[in-house]
Symmetry: C2
Subunit: 391 residues, 2 copies
């Protein structure tokens, strides 16, 4: 996968398989009952869209769930979502790109609160019903006056057609928008994501917003399961962001539940778009560890493989180098006695194949636990992007 | 530091400071009582030296200590050193480069045993008195006939002048030899090391041999301490090798102990030579974490920083990017509450400086533990070296 072409459907990865009976609508559309907008307030150059709102219409029932980065250097908007939000009743989210409002101290926190309160006031909501998400440069004070003015403009522009503008408002160095609007039976689900490894050099940020008119009995559990098999199973460079946020909003107005597996497939495809849009990336890999002693061991080994610069450069160089996989696995199992990992237990042939997506697996022959991870390759482009940027 | 110039002394890093009164001898020399040789047996092209022996002279007293990689995919020679060596009485070591004899199964183990037994027979030693160390490509059967022939030739060529040939025999992609011969008071210490991150693409290997006529009352403890502050405090790409070996041999013939700190300084300078000779590397960094809650936390945070591809590309790009340090530290402390890491607690200015060596520090303000780590930068050269190689 490079940028999607006109002939590509949303589910273009072989690894993201939706349930039967899903049809694709205009990907900039929104699920019924939602409105959005994005405008330019001055954070990004060239008049690019940099502030936006997504909100459920007045009078709609709503349930929501949100997942936030665990990075101990979390940004101001993450603190706001933790400390000042009713996470099950988030009727709106306000976003900006061009400034992550991270490492900005107490002033940054007050600025994020101002964004939340302005949005609530514009939409007639309680402040605790508004999530805040930001992405961009770090350690730079937010020009909050411009952002607040932009919020007023965005609130006035909210419409059912505003998905595209909202999506532009969360993008930074993404090479293409990552979004979908899908219909299955009587329900619709729309989603917008951003992320490209290190979005602004210095901080990786992944944001994702999902809207649906489906009934989701336990949104928090549903979101955790879907994120656990998608955004938590990818790595570009092993770096956890200060700003990662995933927000699920469901009205239940359709009276139907989502088809089983659809939320997982949507988030997995969006996660894979982030992997392949990773800084400098040209290929995506899927590493699988089989027959590990326990899930923790499988996880540790698969992360050592997917984050190994040697495995990542082998993916880039189309080198079926099983020795590098044995070395990375052996490092993760340091100090243990294992029977020798050789080519009979490591399958790396696909690395040499022509595909943009490649699979590898290693069998530890110690138990019956397994784990997998999607990862990008490591290229000169990654180094150039991150070395040439200067704060 | 790039390759040392004619005017450089051995201790050319600002971080490796020897005790007073150390004089440098011809760096290819050996401590009194040792003999060495290196010859060509056919593993490397162009007639390059690829097999060698270092041994103490007959009749000398000897004590020794050896440290070996903990990688669970350890190579055959590591198994031989674990299972078939008297680690306190290693009178000789046989080495080869060009083939790591790793992931070569039981045949590889038998080949390493043959190397050990041939060397012992040539030198009139017990097999358990001979260490085996190998480095080079992996997963390729060792042409043991050629190696055994080379061992015979090397045994016949052993001499007090053989340090240079032995040193050549352990080199693979090293850009320059890493060695010294030093005199302090009445004692002499000589050492030869090799390593450049991923020596042969696919496996990092670091080998180091140290000889001295000093009295070392507890060689194992002395070696652990010195390795703990040198080779265990460096990272090129966070990858643990299958073949790492450090061997200390001491005759005690001088009747004196080593000056305090000399062994540590020698090993630290050799370790730093490996960092700066890392694949594609142009600069070396020293990261320090201060005021951590406990040593484990300090260690975890400093390794997250030194292995962060963002910090490594910032070192390369001379970018004093404290935000990347805050992000890496925050990732290592995921899930914890810490007071915000800002520029008042992160010193990254030196990254922008002109030096080949640069320091950075971060103060966690949670306790009084600290840790440091030396690391190489990440460059396009690293990617090229590791992507272009094909097994």
């Amino acid at each position: 996968m490079s940028a999607p072409g006109p002939e590509d459907g949303f589910f273009r990865s072989r690894w993201a398989v939706p349930p039967q009976g899903v049809t694709e609508l205009d990907p900039s559309g929104l699920a019924p009952g939602f409105r959005a907008a994005g405008v330019h307030c001055g954070l990004k150059g060239g008049g690019a869209t940099d502030v936006g709102i997504i909100a459920v219409e007045d009078g709609q029932e709503l349930s929501s769930a949100i997942l936030l980065t665990r990075n101990a250097s979390a940004a101001a908007p993450i603190r706001v979502c933790h400390e000042r939000c009713n996470q099950g009743d988030l009727r709106a989210a306000v976003i900006n790109s061009g400034n992550a409002n991270a490492a900005t101290g107490e002033q940054g926190f007050r600025d994020a609160v101002a964004m939340q309160e302005t949005t609530a006031s514009e939409l007639g909501l309680e402040a605790g019903q508004v999530a805040v998400a930001e992405t961009g440069v770090i350690g730079v004070p937010l020009p909050v006056g411009e952002v607040v003015a932009g919020i007023g403009e965005a609130a006035a522009a909210l419409s059912a057609d505003g998905g595209e503008g909202f999506n532009e408002g969360i993008m930074t160095t993404d090479q293409w928008p990552k979004r979908c609007c899908l219909r299955a039976g009587g329900v619709t689900i729309s989603a917008q994501a951003k992320g490209a490894g290190m979005i602004e050099p210095g901080f990786a940020t992944m944001l994702c917003f999902i809207q649906t008119d489906a009934v989701i009995p336990d949104p928090d559990a549903a979101l955790r399961v879907a994120v656990g098999s998608s955004f938590e199973r990818i790595t570009v460079d092993g770096q956890m962001s200060t700003n990662d946020t995933v927000l699920l909003q469901a009205t239940g107005a359709s009276g139907e539940e989502l088809p089983e597996g659809l939320l997982e497939a949507v988030l997995l495809q969006l996660a894979l778009e982030i992997v392949i849009d990773g800084e400098g990336a040209t290929r995506a890999g899927r590493a699988e560890v089989l027959a590990a002693r326990d899930p923790e061991e499988a996880e540790r080994v698969v992360r050592a493989i997917g984050n190994s610069p040697l495995v990542k450069t082998a993916l880039y160089g189309r080198d079926p180098n099983w020795g590098r996989i044995a070395q990375a696995a052996g490092m993760a199992l340091a100090g243990e006695q294992i029977s020798e990992l050789g080519p009979d237990r490591i399958d790396a042939d696909d690395l040499a194949g022509p595909g943009v997506e490649a699979e590898l697996s290693v069998r530890l022959d110690r138990g019956d636990a397994s784990a997998h991870l999607y990862f990008s390759d490591l290229t000169e482009g990654y180094v150039q992007l991150n070395a040439e940027y200067t704060t």
